[in-house]
């Protein structure tokens, strides 16, 4: 059937609205000059009014970084990044670290409204009342370019002794905690991108849950890159003290731009005895256009340390955005009986590339880990699952189960699975399952014959494929993620 002019029009409309977060916000920004050197590191530290020890730490990192080389082992390719051709600090000009929402630039609030993030506590509260407490409240920290602009529900959390604020604020108000844990999971010598982050990180979220406290609401950070030619280097640090519980969610968006932008974040989690941290990510950075121009380089280091006995860290990620994703949320299972989980859905379409997976390092006795990875590739995208399961000699009775499933849409994309297994304890039990499947023309026609449109059919089939992972997301985000899965694959068939 020949394409009708209206169809062409419709298709264009759909394609253009595909990345609906691609707007920019017109705000005067306070931007550091382009380039990266010790002066820039000092500039950032000074802007943040940081203590001497933190500046020293940054400088040490920067000096190490200069001796390092970009990792080459990932199955991704991109032109060399000119690290001197970017701004390493950009902040909305009006005010750094506003005291209340009323001081936040109204343009910024509008941006977050467009993104659908409820910043105004009143609104959230109104929402909660309306729904008779059915949907739990969410406390949000919003990071715009380099600066945390507002944290909601702070007062309520403070009553319980929970600290949830921008990391720059934590440096000022809780230096002992930051000093004790910063870099304790991801040291400043860790890897190229993490080390760069140590030198130039600008903001991020800080969470501390005191002993025995169960955080009563989801904590959430929303990251947004707005300024052109800036990198975003946020740093998140979450500590759950003995017996504490916290569920944390991060979401990310960026405007459409033709240049690639670097996002090199570091997330560190620390779980003490009997503590649980659930960390969920819905990553929807701008993926670039259909020809592969533009998009975010998402080079992120995420690691959690299960320091205490019976502690648990669970990573759930839905990765649909970014031109390139390089990311391996990992667990160091140090405490006896500690548990690590990794649930991942990664979708790559058009020219997107993703090399993602996890590392489970079993150190303590009877440590257990579960890995469920679902990769979906469409268009000309390439995707690799790369995972390490390592059992150290002392990890008596360690167990791991890994399941890696790949789904291909069309015949120009690729999926690869690279599992590394190292076991140095005979009592360990490690299982690995992997499958690769394709959405077939039969399945699509079957759905369409039952009245389901082609795009809805793809979304239905893919959601079925990822169900195991999506059900791990907090309820209120699961629906959002399901929609996102559909949107990311628009135009991938036909």
């Amino acid at each position: 059937m020949a394409a009708q002019p209206e169809t062409v029009e419709q298709v264009r409309a759909v394609t253009e609205q595909k990345y609906k977060y691609g707007f920019t916000t017109d705000i005067e920004a306070d931007v550091a000059p382009k380039g990266l050197n010790e002066d820039i590191v000092r500039f950032i530290s000074a802007k943040k009014e940081e203590p001497e020890w933190l500046l020293d730490w940054r400088l040490k990192a920067f000096r190490v970084w200069q001796t390092m080389e970009e990792p080459q082992w990932a199955a991704v390719s991109f032109p060399p990044i000119d690290y001197q051709d970017a701004h390493y600090y950009a902040a909305p000009k009006k005010k750094v670290g506003p005291k209340s929402l009323d001081e936040v630039d109204p343009e910024l609030l509008k941006t977050y409204e467009k993104l659908g993030i409820p910043l105004r506590e009143q609104e959230i509260l109104a929402g909660v009342e309306g729904s008779e407490g059915k949907s739990p409240a969410i406390a949000v920290d919003a990071v715009f370019d380099s600066v945390s602009v507002a944290t909601t529900f702070k007062a309520k959390l403070e009553e319980m002794g929970i600290i949830f604020c921008a990391i720059s604020e934590a440096v000022q108000k809780h230096p002992e905690l930051v000093k004790k844990y910063l870099g304790s999971v991801v040291p400043y010598t860790d890897n190229y991108y993490a080390t760069l982050n140590c030198a130039v990180f600008t903001d991020g979220s800080f969470v501390y849950i005191p002993k025995g406290v169960r955080c009563p609401m989801e904590l959430s950070t929303y990251f947004r890159i707005n300024q052109a030619n800036t990198g975003q280097f946020e740093r998140t640090l979450i500590i759950a003290d003995e017996g504490a519980y916290v569920s944390y969610l991060e979401g990310c968006t960026a405007p459409k731009r033709d240049e690639n932008q670097l996002h090199a974040a570091v997330v560190e989690l620390v779980a003490m005895d009997d503590a649980t941290i659930k960390y969920s990510t819905v990553q929807n950075w701008y993926p670039g256009n259909e020809e592969g121009v533009g998009g975010i380089y998402n080079f992120v280091t995420k690691r959690g340390a299960c320091r205490g006995r019976n502690s648990k860290i669970s990573w759930t990620q839905v990765e649909t955005g970014s031109a390139i994703t390089w990311k391996y949320p990992s667990c160091i299972l140090q405490g006896d009986n500690s548990v690590g989980e990794f649930y991942s859905v990664a979708i790559t379409n058009n020219f997107q590339q993703a090399d993602t997976g996890t590392k489970m390092i079993h150190i303590g006795k009877n440590t257990r880990s579960t890995i469920v990875s679902k990769g979906i590739s469409a268009g000309k995208a390439q995707q690799t699952y790369r995972g390490l399961v390592k059992i150290l000699p002392r990890a008596e009775g360690a167990r791991n189960h890994t399941q890696c499933d790949s789904l291909l849409i069309g015949d120009k994309c690729g999926a690869h699975t690279v599992p590394y297994i190292e076991s140095r304890n005979r009592s360990a039990r490690i299982e690995h399952e992997a499958t690769t499947a394709k959405i077939s023309e039969d399945q699509l026609f079957y759905c369409r014959q039952r009245g389901i449109s082609e795009e809805d059919a793809v979304s239905l089939i893919v959601n079925g494929f990822c169900k195991e992972v999506l059900k791990e997301l907090p309820m209120e985000f699961a629906v959002e993620a399901q929609k996102l899965v559909g949107i990311s694959l628009e135009g991938s068939v036909g």
Binding site: F445, Y446, Q449, R450, G451, L460, I461, F465
Partner: protein, 250 residues
């Protein structure tokens, strides 16, 4: 009313249908019989709008509308239902989710209000009960791990839920033993109604012992070469398709 006129269709550039004429009135059950390779399945796919089945000549008028101009999902929404010869497996997608998505897509197309979870559950309970099925099948992924009989029963359930005006049953008897065949046929018979037409495509007469057609047509080498009443099926059973110039081995 469905009017098929001089329908020609090609698959991979090869002409399979070479001028089919057929008129089906509301409530009528027509059977199409024919040797392998006569174009039976092609006919069902052409009517359902499958990609790769290209109509080169002729028309299909469906209750006054040009059926061939519609996308497969539009045809479904307009009441065309194809019971597949080989129902497709969709791992991870629950039968209930699938049916709910389908019925709501169709309702939306018709400008009707979508069913909420409770309304849908009520409807599906009603339908499974009417067909004498247990609802264990609803909890499983679409057709995954279903036996041949279960797959065909599932098709019947979908038909009952989606309430088509025109149902095409493509080789519904294939892969069924006689007991399963009886159960499926009973289900189909329960769905016969004065405003629902059916086109039953089959190679063998035995299905027509259970689903008794009003008219029988012989499709051979892309054309309807003979039409008659239900007794024509018996005649074919006795003499085979050799009289119609097709080899059994095709």
């Amino acid at each position: 009313m469905i009017e098929i006129k001089n329908l020609h269709a090609t698959v991979d550039g090869k002409e399979i249908l070479k001028g089919v004429d057929l008129t089906i009135r509301p409530g009528e059950v027509h059977a199409i019989m024919g040797p392998n390779g006569a174009g039976k399945s092609t006919m069902s796919y052409v009517l359902a709008g499958r990609d790769g089945y290209e109509v080169t000549e002729g028309s299909v008028t469906y209750y006054g509308k040009d059926l061939l101009a519609m996308e497969p999902e539009e045809r479904a929404a307009e009441g065309v239902f194809l019971a597949f010869q080989y129902p497709v497996e969709i791992p991870g997608v629950g039968n209930t989710t699938f049916l709910k998505t389908a019925i709501n897509a169709i309702r939306k197309h018709r400008g009707e209000k979508e069913l909420d979870a409770m309304q849908f559950l009520k409807l599906i309970r009603e339908k499974t009960k009417a067909l004498g099925m247990n609802d264990e099948m609803l909890k499983r992924a679409v057709n995954v791990g279903f036996s041949g009989g279960e797959k065909k029963r599932n098709e019947t359930l979908q038909m009952a839920v989606l309430e088509p005006k025109f149902a095409i049953l493509d080789e519904t008897d294939s892969g069924l033993d006689i007991d399963a065949l009886k159960i499926v046929a009973e289900g189909v018979n329960a769905l016969r109604s004065p405003d629902r037409s059916m086109l039953v495509i089959t190679h063998y007469q035995r299905l027509l012992d259970y689903i008794v057609p009003d008219h029988v047509h012989v499709l051979a080498a892309g054309r309807i070469v003979k039409s008659g009443g239900k007794e024509l099926a018996l005649e074919l059973e006795k003499n085979g398709y050799r009289d119609f110039g097709a080899s059994e081995a095709a």
